[in-house]
Amino acid sequence: MSVVSISSVNKVFGKAPNQTIALQDINLAIEPGEFISLIGPSGCGKSTLLRIIGDLISPSNGVVLVNGKPAPQARENREYGIVFQAPVLFDWRTVEKNVQLPLEIMGQTPSERAARANEMLELVELTGFQKHYPYQLSGGMQQRVSIARALSFNPPLLLMDEPFGALDEITRERLNAELLAIWARTQTTIVFVTHSIPEAVFLSTRVVVMSARPGRITEIIPIDLPQPRDMATRELPRFYALVTQVREALRGGESAKG
């Protein structure tokens, strides 16, 4: 059974004369344990697609199943965690309390929550910042807190909207490796939006290339790089070949098919 199954999904924003067709005829099946990257020009509907999977908005038509259930029900069951483009931390909560938010909602005891939050903060290398408020953190640190928060309750599906967009290249590469390790260990299925071609290739099992106006899937490129991946993966000739292939698919080049 697919973790995510999207059939004939359209999304139209607005009314007749000022309509935006954000998504047109999207079909996609994501299998358990996959790491899927969505890549495409700005405004092509990547965030919209992610939000439809999470039932934060409804598709205009089409069917979205998550773990075989309609998306609204999967949301009710808290079957996914989400990381937004912005960190979306609560100013009034300390770092550890922000990470504990979903655990609190799910009724864990304070000691369970604290232990789990510390574990997650260690993972994103923010140990020692437990008692800080979000305003005392840099943008990248805030984003890492929001990743820790999404991971904290071990969701079987992780939706990530450009989580590393605000980070420097070195931190970004380190967190990419980190994320792959988490993915391998937890066997979470990940849907990941990015603008970075190397990032998409390095992380994914498949890269979904989208085009804008209307937002469509133009190509799905399987990434056959060996697992587990590490820094050396980025040096492989195959890595460069795939990067080129994705880039050409983004340009709409036919030669990408090879």
Binding site: L56, N77, I82, V88, D91, L101, I105, Y133, P134
Partner: protein
């Protein structure tokens, strides 16, 4: 999260907080200019009154006011307590109602969207004009008549600000809560109410000033001789202006005290907000 739109407090750089390691010298340096200007104005005032031989019924010298103030200190304190009680009582009633109404309507968009324009309209009329009516309804010598005026005056800004705070929430924060499939009630508690606290404190600051104005002006229209507003008008009618001025000092002390109390409370309750944050230079 969105920050309050109305900044009523001064944008001047914050005073060094006591928890960061700042020497007393820095504190003195921070407050010194203000204190110097205050003293300079008083000296200029005193000098002008004496030098130009200004009649005391036009403007008494600070020294004369201070004499009058110290001469009837006990009475001054009583005036302050009497009117302060009215202001505080009305403030509590008005703010509680304002918060209550905006909380109650926060869930019903239609109720909110019907009430809010009315509140904004009501807030822009000089409500103080109702003071004689309130005096008539609840009795001129009844402290509650002044509390009623203060309550009406403070209700609208409180309700308007609170409603803003509850509704101007980062949409992504609401989406996050939606992803956790929590109830409206939980979202109210976890997101909307904390988000509204800075707005609430802003309204408290505005309302603290309004409360004193409401109480004193309400008393101008009548009341017992224990009331600050009554005392000010009666002493002025009998050309004992230094006494009126002494009573005005009490009103100032009340106003500043009220404001500082709210600022202290704000620091305690929302240490995470930009208006209170401790910055480390």
């Amino acid at each position: 999260m969105a920050s309050p739109v109305e900044k009523t407090y001064s944008d001047r750089q914050k005073a060094p907080s006591d928890t960061t390691r700042v020497s007393w010298l820095e504190r003195v340096r921070y407050y010194l200019p203000t204190a110097l200007i205050f003293v300079a104005v008083l000296l200029l005032w005193e000098g002008l009154v004496r030098g130009l031989d200004i009649k005391q019924f036009i403007l008494p010298a600070p020294s004369a006011i201070l004499d009058a103030f110290m001469g009837s200190l006990a009475q001054m304190v009583n005036l302050g307590i009497y009117t302060g009680t009215e202001a505080l009582g009305g403030f509590i009633i008005g703010c509680a109602l304002g918060i209550g109404v905006s909380l109650a309507t926060s869930r019903w968009t239609t109720a909110r969207e019907t009430l809010l324009p009315l509140a904004i309209a009501a807030n822009s009329v000089p409500i103080i004009a109702f003071a004689p009516v309130m005096n008539n309804w609840f009795g001129v010598s009844n402290q509650f008549s002044k509390m009623a005026i203060v309550a009406v005056i403070t209700f609208f800004p409180m309700m308007i600000n609170m409603t803003r705070g509850l509704t101007l929430v980062d949409p992504s924060a609401l989406e996050l809560m939606r992803s956790y499939a929590v109830s409206e009630w939980k979202t109210l508690r976890e997101v909307r109410i904390p988000n509204s606290l800075p707005y609430m404190f802003n309204a408290f600051k505005v309302c603290s000033t309004l409360a004193l104005i409401g109480a004193v002006v309400g008393e101008f229209f009548g009341g017992t001789r224990d009331a600050l507003g009554v005392y000010i008008t009666q002493e002025a009618a009998q050309f004992r202006f230094q006494n009126s001025w002494a009573a005005i000092i009490i009103a100032c002390i009340l106003g500043i005290g009220f404001y500082l109390l709210i600022v202290a409370l704000e620091r305690l309750v929302i240490p995470w907000h930009a208006s209170v944050r401790k910055t480390e230079e």
